[in-house]
Symmetry: C2
């Protein structure tokens, strides 16, 4: 007896993915659990391998088993393959263990020829349907099975339709003529006639599925995704059923729960006397599933039972396709139902309450990224449909907002004070635009990537942002922004969707999701599982409070420079920079110190009981100076220097590569008085809030360190100031001094640096820039192409490059801990809020991740996922 190459659906089950492929195992599982599925069978992946071993021939006995399978289908459907009167039609689909693009798709209506087509026309009483099905079958079979270029067929279609008609306008005659022409094309291109014999069709289709396993695209896909060539693909052959066989037939799709809200109710649509594609095409308006209850109560009852059963079986919301053929219900597919973030949260929590799943499963059911929707306003879906975006930039910071266009931060501030809603539109933003960004509803830039200044700041303060919308032409002088023919003037309304990057002219209402109790419950559960801490990047007290609300366990990165732009303090900062003596700088710094101290007090209060990591001044000084001629003149007058001198100073600070220039701890090394002032502000604030009963844990972070010597030099200043403040105030307080690890050299030298640094915080933005030699501000020119052409799996500024930058993170952690076993290690780059990166950091053994306040819930959930995945991996190993 030959080997078993064919399994009827009722012979398999869900565990047989290796042998039957994903699709085959799924159909078997449904059949096995008593759901009415159109009968069919699966040719195994082993048959595929045997096919190649035998030199592309079906192995012994396989075809005989296929024929037996067909007999079984005929028996169950009461139809006969190739019978003109009551023809059985089947679908043939590939189905490997993993879903794989690049392999043969589906061939429907296999078994059609001139005779069976006539039979179908009679049975469905729809000649046009039969003719069109036949036309489609030839086209699909010719292209997929026989390898004829698709364009050749489309050309015939186009010619027949002319310029104005749609596919649906073609008459029966025309469709038949087209079918004939298709056959001729196939003959001409392949030298073979189109097969009229259904069994011939079937055999060719099966061989084509096997052949597609080593098609170029499938092989490439496996290479990239590291899938073994030896898995092979299975082939599924299944009876076609028709929902268009009269008013007792129908077809539809449904969810076992509401995919928008998560409500526990069947949610779906169907069409009477129709085929699946009619539902999709939207020519007829489908009816709500509740109508089915009235029209076919019995079938509906059966359907509802099945839906319930499937959900119970799979323990998840199911998205099902069904067809009713002459009053008989068939389930064509069931799969986990896609849902909104809100629905995901509600379903997960409900199912725990219902006892269907446990907490760990519930936590794992919600993709961290989905929470984004819950935390930001969205465009009203109805209102949105009516408008077309004028352009699309990068979805740099989620949420949607409408506002009047303004082109500079001062105007933004002024009009916002007057109670108007504005959107700040800039070619790109700089730190000096901060006061305008914070009052705007949203930010739109023409240049810059996902981690440009605008994007980072916007995410930090929770404002929607569309960045790098390159098609925009912004004319500051004319106060207009235009795309193609569309020009928007200052003061006119636009709407941004920061989640998609779309830009609309006019005002679109937004809906703000409310955070449900379920959300809080899920987050609590996530916290029960996760082992890595989640802190937030926040620069001002308001953001710190927001971060606490979202569950941040401290501030992982407080960038002191953002405070420099508030109100008039920028004047003192500029005075400091322009001063050419130590005394001059000290005088200016003395003005800044109390202001910084005040800010720190606010942040410490908000973070009562939690650590706050303050990074010392980091950006290049020229970012604080004006560049326009008039602004320079004004500033010169204010500072009492000549415009020439000020210009010279500004020119002197200009850099070829500011990212790699005079910034980070290099500032504090050249101007130790800056470090001194900042340390004073931090520690004086510590003492002030401590006196008010606040539990305060300041940690001072030295940025852009490359050598231990740099760190030591700055650390000495910080510790000296701490001693001075303790002595002067007769107070004791704890504090730590640590460093950013954001240069490759720092990661490599971690063992040295950890001799003095009490904590490391990986600045993965800059580490990515230096490791790749890639400026995030300039990468927009080529990075999208890189991702598109798979030269990189992802934008490394969005999701950490695990092999390159990631290795440096691992090296840094290992070497740092080898020196100092209790070294506190975290990450404060943008990656701290990216789920895949959070999982990586968990594995790398970091103590915490720090991210924008609005990404804290996402990081908490991702951290729980990481811990649970690890747990189940360990369990498997045992």
């Amino acid at each position: 007896m030959s080997r078993k190459w064919v399994y009827l659906f009722r012979e398999g089950n869900a565990t047989m993915r290796d042998l039957l492929g994903g699709k085959g195992a799924g159909l078997a599982e449904m059949t096995r659990s008593g759901v009415p599925v159109p009968p069919g069978f699966t040719i195994t992946t082993e048959a595929c391998n045997a096919y190649y071993d035998a030199g592309k021939k079906l192995p012994d006995g396989a075809w005989e088993q296929v024929l037996d399978g067909m007999k079984d289908i005929e028996k169950q459907t009461g139809r006969k393959f190739g019978d003109p009167k009551n023809p059985l039609l089947v679908s043939v689909r590939s189905g490997a263990k993993f879903s794989m693009p690049g392999m043969m798709d589906t061939v429907l209506n296999l078994g059609l020829n001139a005779e069976t087509k006539a039979g179908i026309a009679k049975q469905t009483k729809n000649e046009r349907f039969a003719a069109d099905a036949y036309r489609r079958f030839i086209q699909l079979f010719g292209k997929i099975v026989m390898g004829v270029e698709g364009e050749k067929f489309e050309h015939v279609m186009d010619r027949t339709k002319g310029k104005t008609r749609q596919d649906t306008d073609l008459t029966v005659d025309e469709l038949e003529k087209i079918a004939d022409e298709f056959k001729k094309i196939i003959k001409k291109e392949t030298g073979e006639a189109f097969p009229n014999d259904p069994y011939d069709q079937l055999k060719k289709a099966v061989m084509a599925v096997f052949g597609s396993w080593f098609g170029k695209r499938a092989v490439d896909y496996r290479r990239v995704n590291k899938i073994s060539d030896t898995l092979g693909t299975a082939v599924n052959v299944q009876a076609m059923v028709f929902g268009n066989m009269g008013s007792d037939s129908a077809t539809g799709v449904a969810f076992t729960r509401n995919p928008s809200t998560g409500e526990h109710e069947i949610f779906g649509e169907y069409l009477v006397n129709a085929q699946g594609e009619d539902v999709v095409a939207g020519i007829r308006t489908p009816q709500h599933i509740s109508k089915l209850k009235q029209e076919m109560p019995e079938v509906y009852g059966q359907f509802a039972d099945i839906a319930k059963k499937l959900e119970a079986h799979y323990k998840d919301v199911q998205d099902v396709e069904f067809t009713i053929e002459r009053g008989k219900l068939y389930m064509l597919q069931t799969r986990s139902g896609k849902r909104t973030g809100a629905a995901a949260v509600k379903v997960a929590v409900d199912m725990v309450k219902e006892g269907v799943i446990d907490k760990a499963t519930a936590v794992q059911r919600v993709e961290p990224q989905m929470l984004d929707q819950l935390l930001h306003p969205m465009l009203d879906p109805q209102a949105r449909k009516k408008l077309k975006a004028i352009t699309q930039g990068l979805p740099a910071s989620p949420g949607a907002a409408s506002g009047m266009v303004v082109f500079d931060p001062d105007t933004a501030e002024e009009r916002a004070k007057a109670g108007e809603k504005v959107i700040l539109v800039r070619v790109e933003t700089a730190p000096e635009d901060f006061h305008g960004m914070i009052v705007a509803q949203a930010i739109l830039t023409a240049r810059g990537g996902m981690t440009s200044h605008a994007a980072v700041v916007a995410r930090g303060i929770g404002k929607p942002c569309v960045a790098g919308a390159g098609a925009l032409h912004i004319d500051y002088k004319a106060q207009t922004v235009s795309v193609g023919d569309v020009t928007v003037k200052a003061g006119e309304w636009i709407t941004l969707d920061g989640g998609t990057g779309e830009v609309f002219v006019g005002q679109i209402p937004t809906v703000r999701p409310t955070l449900s109790g379920d959300f809080a419950t899920l987050m609590e559960w996530a916290d029960e599982f996760r082992t890595i801490g989640v802190l937030a990047n926040a620069d001002i007290p308001r953001d710190a409070e927001q971060a606490r609300k979202f569950g941040a366990e401290g501030i992982g990165l407080c960038r002191t420079e953002h405070m420099f732009f508030e109100g008039t303090r920028i004047d003192a900062v500029r005075e400091m920079i322009v001063a050419d003596t130590l005394e001059g700088r000290k005088k200016a710094l003395a003005k800044i110190e109390p202001l910084q101290q005040g800010d720190f007090e606010g942040i410490f209060k908000a973070m009562d009981g939690f650590p706050v990591i303050v990074r010392l001044l980091d950006p290049p000084l020229h970012e604080f100076l004006p560049h326009g001629k008039d602004e320079i003149k004004a500033l010169a007058a204010q500072l009492g220097v000549t415009a020439k001198k000020l210009t010279a100073r500004i020119e002197g600070l200009k850099e070829a590569n500011p990212m790699l220039g005079f910034r980070g701890c290099r500032l504090g090394i050249l101007y130790p008085e800056i470090t001194e002032m900042q340390a004073n502000a931090i520690f004086k604030a510590t003492v002030a809030v401590k006196k008010k009963g606040v539990k305060v844990h300041p940690e001072v972070m030295i940025p852009l360190v490359a050598t231990l010597a740099e760190f030591a030099m700055q650390e000495e200043i910080v510790r000296r100031v701490a001693d001075e403040v303790m002595k002067a105030t007769k107070t004791k307080f704890d504090y730590k001094v640590g460093t950013m690890i954001e240069l490759p050299r720092a990661a490599l030298q971690a063992a040295e640096i950890a001799k003095r640094a009490e904590f490391f915080s990986f600045g993965t933005n800059d580490l990515t820039q230096t490791t790749f030699g890639l400026s995030r501000d300039d990468a927009g020119k080529f990075l999208p192409l890189y991702v598109e052409q798979k030269l990189l799996p992802d934008d490394p500024f969005q999701s950490i490059d695990q092999t390159g930058v990631g290795e440096l993170v691992k090296i840094g952690v290992e070497r740092g801990r080898a020196t100092r076993s209790d070294l506190e290690v975290g990450v404060c780059g943008e990656h701290g809020g990216d789920p895949a990166s959070v999982i990586f950091f968990h594995k790398a053994g970091l103590n915490y991740v720090s991210c924008s306040p609005f990404r804290v819930p996402i990081a908490r959930l991702a951290a729980a996922h990481a811990a649970l995945a690890e747990k189940s991996a360990i369990a498997k190993d045992k």
Copy 2:
């Protein structure tokens, strides 16, 4: 009996450095070999340690042994310590195993007090000398031994001298008054009286030397240089001798061979009736040593014998100090004589011929860096003395030159064509200035560091360059360059010394050293020892020829972009960049291809038999475009586009951080047609020269690779073009495709990249920039301070950072070779010509270094040093 704490000079020898310190061992060795050295003794380093162990007390028996030592000195000199009539004076010096700044220096004339001073005055018949010696002694003793701030004494000196007089104008009376005042200051500051008792002076001085071992500066120095605290310092006590005791006394310095030329002749100067400091002060003009032969033939004979003996003993040119006291010759010091590069080479080769040293020693005797002097013109030393530099920049490329100031490359070219000598003066240079640089005598820039564009290019083409002369104010409009009050107009002469960074107004004659046969001999010997290859970085045929002359074994880096600026080809390059269609770019590239091919043919011919590594286009495209308004207008007209469009394109190519931007292989990935054109030019040139009988080994290098995918994508194009050229020309040729490793990620991913890359070339300039996060163009603001404050041991752009960047090099080599054991690995950064770096690369196992043609001999010699050092380390291990 107590331990032996004191060794008379005649009891020690050169091997006793641990116990006697470097100085003590040297004095002992001289004494031992029969050279007349003023008698003395050394208190051991063990005594120093015992002093600290005993709580800062001299150990038992030490003082008694010192007294015995003094007795011995008295006996040998016939003088008596503290004897007013014939007083013995001694010097007290510290002397650790390693010479160490920060420790106590020398106290001279110890033993002086009012009485002995009078004795000296009588003996020398020079009351002023005695009074001045006494004043100096008190001052030195007060400051060094008793720790009084030096300023306090200088204040008295200044007050006494008034505004116009020099030290030498002070009268005996004044000097005596000053001495009294000094004593009062000492009493007031220390509470102790200045010790009149010579033994008291001696004891205090010895204790002060020991005390200085743990002085802050000495401890800091040891920390930085990793010298153990437990070594301790020795103290040397030695009789003073006086060359100013009449016309039968003299003092002088001499070399055993001419330190300028290396000629085998005693070379030196002396002064009759004078002290050593008189020679140094230059008040009287010393006489040539040959005069001594006439004046004191006997002493001279003795001196010549000793000099010969010392040279034979130390097997090297000696720099000796001597004093003749009343007809008796004393040698005060002998040490290896400093010499010019030319002398070093001649002496080394001569000594091998004389049978004094072997070839390996000869090779090791010449510091690689010294060869620089031999390869470049120098300022005429006599003429130079007469002028003062107006400013000093960085010594960016060695050699000296005079020329008329021009401020732009076009004028430079024009005037050079007219036969004039010009120096190109720019704020900074860019690739588009190349045609002006190549015709200029030298280049001067106000901005940029040792590895700025100007510096790198100048070194490559062997032109002197002073870079980053920050004090210069260059006004292109006014066509002037000024420093302070000095203003130089276009067309006026200036002179640069690229070896020192000095800038002079006017013309100074230069002398060009001729390369002697000895130089070639030494280089041959070096090649016998070295195991690492030396290639050159050269971009044009002329440089390639120069490189061959200097012994380069191939081209390690041929930067194709430098060719882009020659003549009118820049027009085609610009046309290519501005084109916005593939066709437009291809059309422009077609114009460039034959020109590039011609260049490659020239380079291949010059390198007949040796490999040539051609790097594909690397710099950001905006470097090729003009930035001035008028230039843009002209170019727009030429290209037939609007100035607006051209401006937009230029703006679009502007980058925040060009170093990390759209450059390197990113260009070829976005515009594969550029790679295609360059590959065509390389391979067509290969075929063309091959047909002429040239042995050609092209290697194509892909720059700025971060991932294997990038490399693979570019490699595929190169290999395809190679196949096409072979097919079209029916020729076979060998070639390699490899990559620059210049990003941290590439080093980390070396195992992956080596799967396809056949060779690696470390681009350590860029690797240093990215590993440190340090732009070489901007580092000038803080890097000098870093080196000065020892935050970094060296400028990492000049000498490779061995721990940080070096680790990445090692990782890259290891991982690359793990994948491909025969991987060819080299370095083509500027470090390839830095001796310390060459030694590091040798150790790291690189196959070759590549450097500027003018540094090839230096690299060859350094490579020999590396191999010899390794050999002797292995020998030691055995």
